[in-house]
Amino acid sequence: MLLGMRVVPWLCVAIGTAAAVVMSVGHAGTGPRTSITIWGAPATPVAPASLFGGQAYGAVTTPTGAMIVERREVEVGANGEVRLAGVPATLDPASVQLRSLGESFTVSEQRFVPGAATPDEILQRHVGEQVTVTTPKGEVIGVLRSVDAQAIVVEVGTGDQRRLQVMRRDGFVQDVHLAITAGSDRPSLVWRVGAKQPGKHDVEVSYRAEGLTWTTDYLAILDEAHHSLDFSAWATVKNATTATFENAELTLVDPGAAAVAAGKPVAAPARFTVPSAVKLGSGESVQVELFPPRTAAKTRTVVVFEAMADQSASFQQFQAVDCNQLATNVGTARSEVALEVDVPTKDALPDGRVRLFKRTGSRLEVVTEDPLRSIAGAARIRLSPDAEITGERHAVSCNYDEHAHVIKEKIELKLENKGKQAVDVVAREFLWRWPMFKIESDESPRGTRAGAQTQEYRLSLPGGGKKSITYTVVYSW
């Protein structure tokens, strides 16, 4: 039984369905070229308490916003003026560079003209121009001389008949018709250049702007047998600059939000180049894929074990030299069941949430929506906490050499599987005392570097089985 069949004019029918209304066919590559490098939103960095020279003097600073490089054809006026309208309102004027791609010219003056947003601002932009004002007594045509909230002043007539007419805006002025000047109301860059001849020139304009951000979302669909999954990584680029960029070639830079939050320097941020040029409309969000989707990728079920929380964020400015500190960790561990899948990236994937679905017949069931755990070449999707894998970590030995500036610490991690089924365990160890360290060769089993200060060990634990991991780490400074 169906009730309430009200239909509103814009109601669209999702049928056969849903709703493609208009399709356009086109090819990228025509018109001006724009390349945009967007930095991912960094987490708020932990400011060092007191650094000589202050924060901006050699300390970690993470770029924000976007670097935009536009190649355009511009018109150089007879007076040497070049105007580029429709640039972002959020542009950083100090970052602007104009370069001729053909005959070279010199730039003698540069101005950033913000866009006009309010009626008063728009009218102010047209002072000195011809306007037509509609009043109850008819139309007044003349040159706009002055505007404020109460009145509008128009110069009318010519020669001896020239006079100023002041008209009240409250009631008397009904309409003001303005001549459209291309881009005059939009944020613009204006240069005065010294060119050999006016006319069309090919130029490259580069600048930094806020308002372009990107975040990552991952989609994973597990097959019914739980053996493989389809995995895709989507970057959502949000454009709040007020400008529209056609045919934009995008490069997305991941500053490593987690590292920045911990106050750690990021050696080489991961960069993702979007293969096809896209349009970034003003106020639009655009989703693009970070890499080709993986279909039917084999999954591994692992239990990720961490004996303790990562303490390294607290020891980036000075070393943790107290050997008794966190020498034994019992009851502080966390284990969680996760699905692991290989991904075609050399770096850890950008932070983002992953939505995991499971196929059940023709349906999809939602399983999780969690932050993705990622290391170089692999992504992990957390399922739930695990109670069967337990363990304790303790320092077998720890020596602090005050003169050599070295701490040598031997760690043993004992793991136990209290369940009946064998499981693959990934034990994550944090080398938290200082960022500069090396693992000695007595490591058993052999681990792999999984982050700036993280080592991972893989082992298989049979049901009811116990195994140990030992390694020696030498911190130096």
Binding site: L3, G4, M5, R6, V8, P9, L11, C12, V13, A14, I15, G16, T17, A18, A19, A20, V21, V22, M23, S24, V25, G26, H27, T30, T90, E210, G211, L219, W234, T236, N239, A240, T242, P275, S276, V278, K279, G283, E284, S285, V286, Q287, V288, E289, T301, R334, V337, R355, L356, F357, L364, E365, V366, V367, L383, S384, E388, G419, K420, V423
Partner: protein
């Protein structure tokens, strides 16, 4: 070069009519308590090579909530969503708004007023930049969550003057303010919030993969509602397969607290006055107990029920009102519907002990329930107790044999109180919790 091509496959805005060969259900919607998960099929005829097409999805869907589940053989280059992105040049909102929700995310409407349906709004335009290997018709599937498909379930139960059988009818009313009319849609309902459902599903999946033991707390299950069309406004969908006559009998019920004290947490509430102050009411209700058909009731969402009596002249009278299929009664064998206060029979509930053992992570509570029957004949009483402190519990002792678990925090005991006498029931519940990590 750009060439605008009308898309002939679809019924779209402003009365364009197409003649697609529709599958049985083009869309698929799962209704959760807080949001709906929409899988929306978009069929399109495209030429070979690159092109762009515009689809409409529910109002206020933002780009980061939109997922392409099935590309249908097309290469997908970009997805554009026109959304209310807040320009950074705009002054920051007032300091009172401390939420971090994404622009356009109106899920907060649920938090401010869970009953407030978001107003009808225009759909969101989604532009898909695609490339087709060859000209033809393709079908993509988009997915997203929306809080603009809100719903309620309600039931009626009809009995005869003999009051020994009842027939259940139910319907779900779906209010669609997405701006999209979903034709031919497979509907499912899950009586849980999406977050809770996900947690439970993930636990079960993890347990099946590594051999763990999932929680025994009864969980909501999915109920298929069939294929329906969800137009703007309200659509009522009848729940089928539940109207087999069920046995019914009169019973007295002592349920002093109901579910109002329930703390749905794995860690028990420690307040020593909980369930003691104010004291438990002494009222016992005259009720009807209706047998539940476990198979037919699987996955039915909770909702109010009216018990109606069809009189010999055909008129209907209301006997009582209650709620059915609440989470608290998810595994109950019977449903009870109160119709009034029992005369001459009262109950008293007294707590005799409360012990919290932090070393052993145990909280023990002992209760004595006294039923006082002043009537001239024996009465059967169903005593329903709620283990309101938490969801991890064990009834260590009862003076009544065969207590019955009815839900995650509820069990019942049956006893007969002789005429003009009292009957005392004792039970001990032990709550446990995990050590902090």
């Amino acid at each position: 070069m750009k060439l605008a091509v009308a898309c002939a496959v679809l019924i779209a805005c402003r009365g364009h009519v197409g003649h697609p060969s529709e599958p049985a259900a083009a869309n698929d919607i799962t209704l959760y308590r807080d949001v709906a998960l929409v899988r929306q099929r978009v069929a399109v005829t495209v030429p070979a090579g690159a092109s762009s097409l515009t689809a409409h999805v529910a109002a206020m869907v933002t780009g980061d909530r939109l997922m392409v589940i099935d590309r249908g053989g097309l290469e997908l280059r970009a997805v554009h969503v026109a959304g209310p992105v807040v320009p950074v040049a705009t002054p920051a909102p007032a300091a009172t708004d401390d939420t971090d929700e994404a622009p356009g995310d109106d899920s907060h409407l649920d938090e401010t007023d869970p009953d407030a349906a978001p107003p009808l709004a225009p759909p969101t335009d989604v532009i898909l930049d695609i490339a087709a290997p060859h000209a033809g018709t393709y079908s993509l599937v988009l997915a997203y969550t929306t809080n603009r498909l809100q719903w309620d379930a309600d039931y009626t139960m009809t009995t005869t003057p003999a009051r020994d059988r009842a027939v259940l009818h139910g319907a779900i009313a779906v209010r669609n303010t997405t701006g999209i009319a979903f034709a031919s849609t497979a509907l499912h309902v899950i009586d849980a919030e999406l977050g809770g459902w996900r947690t439970r599903t993930a636990e079960h999946l993890a347990a099946s993969l590594v051999g763990g033991t999932p929680s025994t707390t009864p969980a909501a299950t999915s109920r298929d509602l069939g294929v329906a069309s969800l137009v703007a406004g309200e659509t009522r969908v009848e729940i089928s397969g539940i109207s087999k006559p069920r046995g019914m009998r009169s019973v007295l019920v002592y349920d002093p607290f109901g579910t109002r004290l329930d703390n749905a947490s794995a860690t028990p509430a420690r307040d020593d006055k909980l369930g003691v102050e104010p004291p438990a009411p002494s009222r016992i209700t005259e009720s009807f107990e209706v047998q539940r058909d476990e198979h037919a009731a699987a996955g039915l969402p909770a909702g109010p029920v009216r018990l109606l009596e069809r009189k010999p002249d055909g008129a209907l009278g209301v006997l009582g009102e209650s709620r059915l299929f609440d989470a608290a009664t998810r595994v109950a064998d019977v449903d009870t519907i109160a119709i009034g206060t029992a005369e001459g029979v009262v109950g008293h509930r007294e707590r005799r002990e409360l012990t919290i053992d932090d070393d052993r992570l145990r909280l023990t509570e002992e209760f004595a329930i006294t039923l006082d029957n002043k009537r001239d004949h024996d009465v059967g009483v169903l005593v329903r107790e709620h283990l309101y402190r938490g969801q991890t519990w064990n009834v260590a002792f009862t003076s009544i044999e065969h207590p019955s678990k009815e839900g995650a925090q509820q069990f019942s005991m049956r006893t007969t109180v002789p005429a003009r006498s009292q009957q005392k029931i004792l039970y001990i519940v032990v709550y446990t919790w995990d050590p902090p990590r």
